[in-house]
C-alpha cells in the first residue's frame, strides 16, 4: 500500500486546489522558508485524523483555513483528500484504492468522506488502525520530535512502543 495522491484546497497557504501525485519510494519536498512545505505535512496529519489543533501549530480550528493574503480573500472552508493505492492486501475493502477526505468550515463544522461516502471521524480512524498510518502512529517525524523522544518527559517512548505492540 502507498499514498498515491494528496489533494489540498483552502488549507492554510494552499488556497488553490493543489494535487500531489506520488509513487512508492522516496519523494522530496523542497522550497524556500515559509513557502508551505510544513503546511503540506500539517494537511496530511489533519486528514489522517489529528484532532489537536496545537499539533498543527494553530490555536483554533480556523487557523487551518486559508485566511487571506494581499490579493486574496479568506476562504470559508479547507479540504484535504488522501488516496491510498494497492490496499487490497491490507484493508478489508473490495476496491484497490481508497480516498479519505476531510473538510472543515469556519463554523467549526467538520465533514468526513471515505470514497466520497459521508463518514465519521471514527470510521476513518478504524480504517487506518490496522495500517500504521493513524495519526498516532508516529510515522510523521519533525525536528521537535528529536527532543520529544530523547527527553521523554511523559513516558512517550513507552507509549510509542505500546502503540506498535
Amino acid at each position: 500500500m502507498y499514498v498515491s495522491r494528496i489533494e489540498i484546497t483552502g488549507f492554510k497557504s494552499f488556497v488553490d486546489r493543489t494535487v500531489i501525485e506520488l509513487q512508492p519510494g522516496i519523494s522530496a519536498i523542497v522550497g524556500p522558508n515559509g513557502c508551505g512545505k510544513t503546511n503540506i505535512c500539517d494537511a496530511i496529519r489533519w486528514v489522517l485524523g489529528e484532532e489537536n489543533v496545537r499539533l498543527l501549530r494553530g490555536t483554533r480550528i480556523e487557523d487551518i483555513i486559508f485566511n487571506g493574503s494581499e490579493k486574496r480573500k479568506p476562504t470559508g472552508m479547507a479540504e484535504v483528500s488522501l488516496t491510498l493505492s494497492d490496499v487490497q492486501d491490507t484493508l478489508p475493502l473490495e476496491c484497490n484504492e481508497v480516498t479519505i477526505t476531510r473538510r472543515v468550515f469556519r463554523s467549526g463544522d467538520s465533514q468526513f468522506y471515505i470514497n466520497k461516502v459521508p463518514s465519521r471521524l471514527k470510521d476513518i480512524v478504524n480504517l487506518l488502525l490496522g495500517t500504521g498510518l493513524g495519526r498516532r502512529a508516529y510515522s510523521i517525524m519533525e525536528r521537535e520530535m528529536i527532543d520529544w523522544i530523547l527527553d521523554d518527559a511523559n513516558g512517550q517512548r513507552r507509549r510509542i512502543i505500546e502503540e506498535a505492540a
Binding site: M1, Y2, V3, E7, K12, S13, F14, D16, R17, T18, V19, I20, L22, Q23, P24, G25, I26, S27, A28, I29, V30, G31, P32, G34, C35, G36, K37, T38, N39, C41, S69, E70, K71, R72, L84, T131, G132, L133, A137, Y138, S139, I140, M141, E142, R143, M145, I146, D147, I149, L150, D152, G155, R157, R158, I160, I161, E162, E163, A164, A165
Partner: protein
C-alpha cells in the same frame, strides 16, 4: 498484553541497536526498562555511546548525535510495525554531510517496504529522491507546487502540479 509488549520491545530494541551502529558507524546503544520487574509500567531508558567515546547521558550528546539517536529509535519502531508511509520534515537539518549520507543509506534500505516523503533543504537528500516537488510562493501568501521528475534527468520537465 505483557507478552505482546515484551516481544515488541525486544524487536524494537534489536532494530534500535542495529540502526544506531549503522548511523554512528560503530558505537553502541541500548534500550532498557528502567524497572525490570515492572514491564507494564516502567519508563524506557535510552543509552547511547558513539564509538570511541565514554557512555554518558543523552543530554551531553551533540545536536547531530541526538538527531541520529532519535532517528535510530523511531526507525526501529517503523521497522517493527511497518508503516506504509513515513513523513519526515527537515530531520536531516542538524546533520553534517557524512551523517546525512548514513541517514540516507538507512532510508534507502527502509524504502523497499515503506514510502518516504521527505521535506528537506539538503542537496544530498534531494539527490536520493526519485521524485522532487518544489513548493513556491510566487504570489505572496499563496503556495503552489511544481513537480520535477528526477529519474529521466536532473531538473528536466518542470510541470506545474494541480
Amino acid at each position: 498484553a505483557r507478552l505482546e509488549f515484551k516481544e515488541t520491545f525486544e524487536r524494537v530494541q534489536r532494530d534500535f541497536r542495529k540502526n544506531f551502529e549503522i548511523l554512528f558507524e560503530g558505537g553502541s546503544a541500548d534500550l532498557r526498562l528502567k524497572y525490570e520487574n515492572d514491564p507494564l509500567e516502567s519508563p524506557i531508558e535510552i543509552l547511547a555511546q558513539p564509538s570511541g567515546k565514554r557512555l554518558e547521558q543523552i543530554s551531553l550528546l551533540s545536536g547531530g548525535e541526538r538527531a541520529l539517536t532519535a532517528i535510530a529509535f523511531l526507525f526501529a519502531v517503523y521497522h517493527t510495525k511497518p508503516s506504509p508511509f513515513c513523513l519526515l520534515d527537515e530531520v536531516d537539518a542538524p546533520l553534517d554531510d557524512a551523517n546525512v549520507g548514513r541517514f540516507l543509506n538507512l532510508i534507502k534500505d527502509l524504502a523497499k517496504h515503506t514510502q518516504f516523503l521527505v521535506v528537506t533543504h539538503n542537496k544530498k537528500t534531494m539527490e536520493v529522491a526519485s521524485c522532487l516537488f518544489g513548493v513556491t510562493m510566487e504570489e505572496p501568501g499563496v503556495s503552489k507546487i511544481v513537480s520535477v521528475r528526477l529519474e529521466k534527468a536532473k531538473s528536466e520537465t518542470l510541470e506545474p502540479v494541480g
